[in-house]
Amino acid sequence: MQEQIKQRLENIISTMTQLPSIPDVVSRIINMVNDPNVDFKAVAEEIAKDQSLTTNILKLCNSAYFSKGKEIVSVDRAIVTLGLKEIKDIVVLVTCRNVLDKPILGYDLAAGEMWTHNLTVAILAKKMAMDIKRKDLADIVFTGGIIHDVGKTVLALYVANTFKDIMKVTQEKAVTFIDAEKDVMGFNHQDIGLKILEKWKFPDSLKAVVAYHHNPENSPKEFYKAVSIVHVANIITLMAGVGIGGDGLYHALNPDAVKETGISDADLEKYYSIVPEIVKQAKQI
């Protein structure tokens, strides 16, 4: 059966048709915003072409987490008030929600549980980036946090059939769940996530976060800090039980990645202790 699953997943990856989709406008907006010569009018026009996207963006701009106080009634205003990067984060939030808030059966996550987990990781990671004075990474780790586990949406079905085998491998070989996924199915949820982002035409920075959030040691150098921040935020969120599934805490916290973030032991515990407040913020989004 394991051979069959490997074969199936290989097929899914090479044909790409069975991987989830999001509207093309998302990658267009991400790439526009990442362009240093971006024209904000062009971004506003791109968004305005899609009425439901516009409505949903405005709703989020006025939500407790993103609101800057004054009510925002147009995309132009939203861009001026929140900035292009924050608008890009909101575009990803709005368009990925449908893909990410479903039940993730093989991992034992009920509807909405992974979504809350992703948002919590995103908000926590962004806070860490701000605290270590790396505002430039805030949007990458936020967007990366939202989509880091996207591979689970595809892999879950196969994990459902192989869960016992995966757990057995974690015990017998003393490896993490992510390594055991690969051992049993040929792919782990990072590999599948990377393929999904290729389909979505997302930038390399986000691909790195998705592909290495459990293995920051393998990240390309230029994205190592961002990947490390999401890695740490993910582990802390799991320890607090937010979006913890059948895989439990069968993961690793990479000490070098912690060092890379520059976060002290005492601060790690502080971040862990504020997870309940972060979850509250996540639920307001």
Binding site: D108, M239, I244, L249, A252, P276
Partner: protein, 160 residues
């Protein structure tokens, strides 16, 4: 016997009556379930860390949440002689430098929880703690039994 589901979030504390079932999901946190078998009233605290050390958020910490939970139950007419406790959670990361403070949170949570229960004079009847599994726990207030689901395996603890 359909019990009404009540979710207890991270760092929350709730009590309920016999027709209810309290549920929470645990990583390194500990869920403390106390039941009065005479009144058929019970409550659950979901603590994140062992000691409040002056923090006003009493629900987050074992040393403040447990006395608060007991007090809530006493106010409902429960008595300590009929109360008993079950605890679950306190898992640790599978691979972790145990020397870091974060690596010991699960263990510390279990230890301090037991200590506080003992000091309060509440009998601890069973525990499903430690390891690296996440746990979904359901606390049924009609008979005080606790169902723990961890890594796809269910375990029931009936003693009250």
């Amino acid at each position: 016997m359909a019990n009404e589901l009540v979710n207890v979030g991270v760092a929350q504390l709730k009590i309920g009556t016999s027709e209810q079932m309290l549920r929470t999901i645990l990583g390194s946190c500990v869920g403390i379930c106390i039941y009065d078998r005479n009144k058929k009233i019970g409550g659950m605290a979901h603590i994140l860390l062992p000691e409040a050390s002056g923090s006003s958020q009493i629900e987050k910490y074992a040393d403040t949440a447990i006395p608060a939970l007991i007090n809530l139950l006493l106010k409902q007419g429960c008595t300590k002689e009929f109360m008993s406790a079950k605890i679950a959670g306190g898992a640790s990361m599978f691979k972790f430098k145990i020397s870091t403070a974060l690596g010991q949170i699960g263990e510390r949570n279990i230890e301090v929880t037991k200590d506080i229960l003992k000091k309060a004079g509440i009998a601890l009847l069973c525990e499903d703690t430690g390891g690296s599994t996440g746990r979904v726990i359901d606390f049924f207030l009609n008979d005080g039994h606790l169902k723990v689901k961890a890594g796809g395996v269910e375990q029931n603890y009936y003693k009250v």
